[in-house]
């Protein structure tokens, strides 16, 4: 369908043939049929629907509070100002400290990096073992993980608090990374398991005949060709961890409060005044990291799933 296919040769069926007709097909497609026009109309319409909230957010973040109080969320600002953005980054009060949301930035990074790497590694090992080696009882455990993915995280907070307190690490960086590991394991395992199920098992059998053991096959054969699904998993996990609020709030300890807690402090006051322009600016600032990640790895994201990550 798409001449520049992005699937690696391993998993995509019959990859090679479509390279030749590409130029001819492309040139022929340039004709503007009613179908093409309809296609662009649909895509542009959908894009407008998706962009509408972003437009409101940006426009609100450039207005003064007086203008916002007067209403009219679609109206362009009369006197656009970048002051809310400056405040959001470094001036807004999040408690006795008035230093904006930037204070949480490095904490979020310190939490997100290990809380992405570890679940991905473990998910890869789990998926690999589940799809190739299939030890007895492993599917039962996988089923428990899948059921656990449906439980709202708040329900598990109390047992986790007690266990971590017993281990003496409650309220520290290892605690929050461990918690993210626990909650990330179901989806990570699912992704990798399905990916490896799409990989031809002849490869695995050949490697075993060559004398490879569990770890050798994993490290030398499977992991190197998992790059696409690793990128997929990284995107999903980074988004989940970076945007997490409740787990960071309870488990990270006061020295490691992530950016989301700062954002929440800015937005959600109970009886204080609300500065909507600063709130919007702060939200966009906080969302820039996952957004940058999508932008950079957008192509890989699509490519990764193509290689079978979502095959059931």
């Amino acid at each position: 369908m798409n001449p520049d296919t992005t699937a690696p040769p391993m998993a995509a069926p019959a990859p090679a043939a479509h390279d030749q007709p590409a130029p001819a097909v492309r040139r022929a497609r340039r004709r503007l049929t009613p179908a093409r026009i309809g296609l662009y109309v649909f895509l542009l319409g959908a894009a407008l629907f998706f962009l509408l909230p972003l437009y409101v957010m940006v426009v609100t973040s450039l207005k003064t509070m007086d203008e916002i109080r007067q209403g009219g969320i679609f109206a362009l600002p009369h006197a656009a100002t970048l002051e809310p953005w400056r405040l959001a980054w470094s001036g807004v009060c999040t408690g006795a400290a008035c230093e904006g949301v930037r204070t949480g930035f490095w904490n979020s990074v310190a939490i997100t990096v290990p809380a992405t790497i570890l679940p991905i590694l473990l998910g890869a090992v789990n998926g690999y073992a589940l799809s190739f080696w299939r030890p007895r009882g492993a599917n039962v455990l996988f089923g428990i993980l899948m059921a656990g993915a449906f439980v709202p995280v708040q329900v598990m907070i109390y047992p986790l608090v007690r266990v971590l307190a017993l281990a003496g690490i409650f309220g520290s960086l290892p605690a929050i990374v461990l918690v993210h590991l626990v909650f990330g394991m179901p989806v990570m395992t699912l992704l990798f398991r399905n990916y490896y199920c799409g990989v031809p098992h002849e490869l695995f059998h050949a490697a075993r005949i060559d004398g490879g053991g569990f770890w050798r096959i994993f490290l030398q054969v499977m992991l190197p060709m998992s790059l696409p699904v690793v990128v997929v998993a990284a995107i999903m996990q980074v988004t989940g961890v970076w945007n997490d609020y409740i787990l960071g709030l309870v488990f990270a300890g006061r020295d490691h409060m992530p950016m989301m807690v700062q954002l929440n402090n800015v937005i959600n006051t109970t009886t204080g005044t609300r500065q909507y322009n600063v709130n919007m600016a702060a939200t966009i600032l906080t969302g820039l990291v996952p957004l940058a990640l999508y932008f950079v790895s957008g192509r890989w994201f699509v490519r990764g799933i193509a290689a079978g990550a979502v095959k059931g």
Binding site: T5, A147, P152, V187, N268, G287, A306, V310
Partner: protein, 291 residues
């Protein structure tokens, strides 16, 4: 001999973290939650056993019953809409359009934004008098009223709109990748046979995409069960209690109302349909794998 048994043990050893997390983490927490649901725990878990009284109180509670009803209505609509929209977006983007990267980013960015603020924006967009309703009014459609968000019966559907906005980009990306894994020979053969495009999609592509769809369904279903942020940010469960959902009911009673016993009962009840659906699915899959 020893070496063989060692290598036999390796997969089990490698799965040890997963076993610990599944058994101690999820299974252990689940059993503990069930135990607490049989007690009269308030702010702190206590051992004061009261049998199934919390469950009685739960099913007597109008707010809880409404939340279950809302979840069912929401769940069906959300999953269907996200699937359909995500699939359509993927299909159309896959048609070799100009600016595919731009479109993809536009559809994916909602996934990156925290719902704490985007939920408020959606509330503004859907508030009667301003937002969409105000814009329609300004354009001259004075007899059209768009006030679902303040309506008892329709508030939950506004939550559907906002969450579909956030999720369909991810569905699109997953579907797009699935589409790109399909053999291009199929398209050529179909064109040679003169089959119209929509039939190719309906009768050939969709069945081939079934594994992708199955995984997307699973991910969407977990999102439905855990729906909380969007409701809190958009309607706070209102107007009144009209858009209440189980996860919010549980969360409110865990901390705000200091009633851990009732919240645990709610969590167990929420888990029951999940188990009821997963168990036959798992059974069917294990039979398929054995075959």
């Amino acid at each position: 001999m020893a070496r063989r048994s060692l290598s036999r043990a390796t997969p089990y050893a490698a799965l040890l973290p997963m076993a610990v997390v599944a058994a101690l983490g999820y299974l252990g927490a689940g059993l503990w939650t069930f135990y607490i649901s049989l007690t009269g725990s308030r702010t702190f878990p206590s051992g004061h056993f009261i049998g199934f009284a919390q469950y009685h109180r739960l099913f007597d509670n109008e707010r809880w019953m409404l939340s279950l009803h809302n979840l069912a209505a929401y769940g069906v609509l959300f999953v269907l809409a996200s699937l359909v929209i995500g699939f359509l977006l993927a299909v159309f983007i896959d048609q070799n359009v100009k600016g595919e990267g731009v479109f993809r980013t536009i559809f994916l960015y909602p996934y990156a934004m925290s719902f704490v603020a985007t939920g408020l924006v959606w509330q503004w967009l859907l508030t009667p008098g301003d937002g969409v309703d105000g814009a329609l009014r300004a354009l001259g459609f004075t007899h059209v009223r768009f006030d679902w968000i303040v309506s008892q019966d329709h508030a939950i559907y506004t939550v559907v709109a906002a969450t579909v906005w956030q999720a369909s980009g991810l569905v699109m990306a997953l579907m797009l990748a699935g589409l790109r894994g399909i053999d291009p020979e199929i398209w050529k053969a179909a064109r040679l046979d003169g089959i119209p495009a929509w039939r190719v999609y309906a009768q050939i592509v969709l069945p081939m995409l079934w594994p992708t769809i199955a995984t997307v369904l699973l991910l969407l279903a977990t999102a439905v069960a855990k729906l909380y942020d969007a409701v809190v940010a958009m309607t706070q469960g209102g107007p009144g209690i009209a858009s209440e959902v189980p996860a919010k009911f549980i969360m409110d009673h865990l901390f705000l109302r200091s009633n851990v016993g009732l919240a645990s009962a709610g969590a167990i009840v929420l888990l029951v349909p999940v188990l009821a659906l997963l168990a036959p699915y798992a059974y069917a899959r294990s039979r398929k794998e054995a075959a």
